[in-house]
Symmetry: C2
Subunit: 193 residues, 2 copies
DNA sequence: GAATTATTTCGATGATCATCGAATTGATTC
DNA sequence: GAATCAATTCGATGATCATCGAAATAATTC
C-alpha cells in the first residue's frame, strides 16, 4: 500500500509547511519563532509541525520550556531515492489490473453469459475474446464441429467469432487437418497502440 | 517562490493520483481504462490527469477518439534532484526573517519607543538589544556620559542596559580609557542553544 | 506553591478539493 | 450529415483540512 507515501506528499503539499522545512534546513527554531516568521498563530504552527513529525521529517527537542524543532535530514535524503522501480510498483499494489477487462466483458454479455455483440473497438474485442477463449482447455485439440459447439454457447455468429479468435492468435489452426487448439498464454498487458 | 513546488507535491498528495502515476509507469492508458482500474468515473480521472498534467508529470496523445496518457519520466527524475540546497533556500524566499525580532521588540516597547522592561529570556533580550544598539553610530567612540545619555532614551536603568549590551558583545569597552563603541556587525542567525 | 511562559489539544469555521452526474465538445464512423 | 463514442467541462455535494481562539498541559521561575 502507498498510504505512507501519500502521507509523505500530503505533509509537503502545503505552502507553510514547505517554508518550515526550508527554515529548519538552515537552523533550529522554536514554535514561537516559526509562528512569528510565518505570521501564523502558534497553535497553527504546532499543527503543521505535528504533520511533518508524523512522517519523520522533523523532530522536537525540549529546551527549557521551548520545543526546539529540527529537520530530519535522513528523511529528506530518502526523497532522493523516491520513484525507484519498487516505489512506482508499490503505488499499484492494491489496484485490480483486470478490472477494465471485466467491465468490458460485463458490458457486452447478457446475464446468461452469452454475448450481446462483438465489440467494434480493438481493445474491447480483445477483452471479450479472452473471456471466450477460457472455454477451451489448454493443450486439447478440437475439430471444427467441436469448436462451433463451444462458440455457439456465446454467440450465434460462430464464424465471425472463430475468425476473430484466430486473428488475435488466441486460437491456433492446423491448416491441413482442420484442427484447432488454444494458444499458449502470453502475458498481455493490453497496451494501446 | 515555491508555488511551483507546492503544486508539484499537491499533485502527488492523493492516493488515486499516485496510483495513476504507478500505472502509467508500466504502460500507457486511456481515461476510460484508468477509470475502470481505479473504480472511478471518467470525469474524475480526467480531473486527476489534468492536475498531473499541470505540473508536467503526464502528457496526452490523441489516438482515434481516445486520449492516451503517458508518464513524463523526465519530470519524475527531477524529483531525485529535489531538496538540493537551492530548493530548500527557495522555500523561504518570501519569508521575512526579521519578523520574529520585530515582534519581540514590539512587545517590549511602548508607543514612544522606550522599553517597558528588559526581557528575561535570552533570545528576546537579544532582539531588544539589537534594537537599542542601532542608536550608536558604527565606528564612533563614546564616553560613559554620552552612552548613558543615549540609553536613557530607551530605559531608566541605564546601568543594566549597558551591562547587557556589553555582555552580548554589542557594545565594546576600552577598559583603560572608559570608552565605548558599537561592535562590528556579525551575521547573527538567532540560533537557540 | 503561585505565577508565568510555551506548547499542545480541542472545537469551530471557512476554504479547498475529490467525486459524481449531466451537459458539452471533439473526433470518428457509417 | 447523422449517429456514436471518449473526453472534458460544469455545477453541486460531501469530506478534508488550514486556521484560529480558547482551554488544557507542561515546564520554569520566583
Amino acid at each position: 500500500m502507498s498510504a505512507e507515501l501519500v502521507a509523505f506528499f500530503k505533509a509537503l503539499a502545503d505552502s507553510n509547511r514547505l517554508k518550515i522545512v526550508g527554515l529548519l534546513a538552515q537552523q533550529t527554531y522554536s514554535v514561537e519563532q516559526l509562528a512569528a516568521l510565518l505570521n501564523l498563530r502558534p497553535s497553527t504552527v504546532s499543527h503543521h509541525l505535528a504533520r511533518l513529525s508524523e512522517v519523520g521529517l522533523v523532530s522536537a527537542r525540549a529546551d527549557s520550556y521551548y520545543n526546539v524543532y529540527q529537520l530530519e535530514e535522513a528523511a529528506l535524503r530518502k526523497t532522493n531515492l523516491l520513484f525507484s522501480q519498487e516505489d512506482l510498483a508499490s503505488m499499484i499494489n492494491d489496484v485490480d489490473l483486470d478490472a477494465y477487462d471485466r467491465q468490458v466483458v460485463g458490458n457486452f454479455t447478457n446475464p446468461d453469459g452469452t454475448l450481446k455483440s462483438l465489440p467494434a473497438q480493438r481493445k474491447k474485442l480483445e477483452a471479450v475474446l479472452h473471456y471466450v477463449i477460457t472455454a477451451f482447455k489448454p493443450g486439447k485439440h478440437y475439430n471444427e464441429e467441436q469448436v462451433n459447439k463451444i462458440l455457439v454457447r456465446y454467440y450465434d455468429d460462430t464464424a465471425s467469432l472463430r475468425r476473430e479468435l484466430v486473428g488475435f492468435k488466441l486460437l491456433q489452426r492446423d491448416s491441413r487437418g482442420g484442427e484447432y487448439w488454444r494458444a499458449a498464454e502470453v502475458d498481455n498487458l493490453g497496451d494501446i497502440e
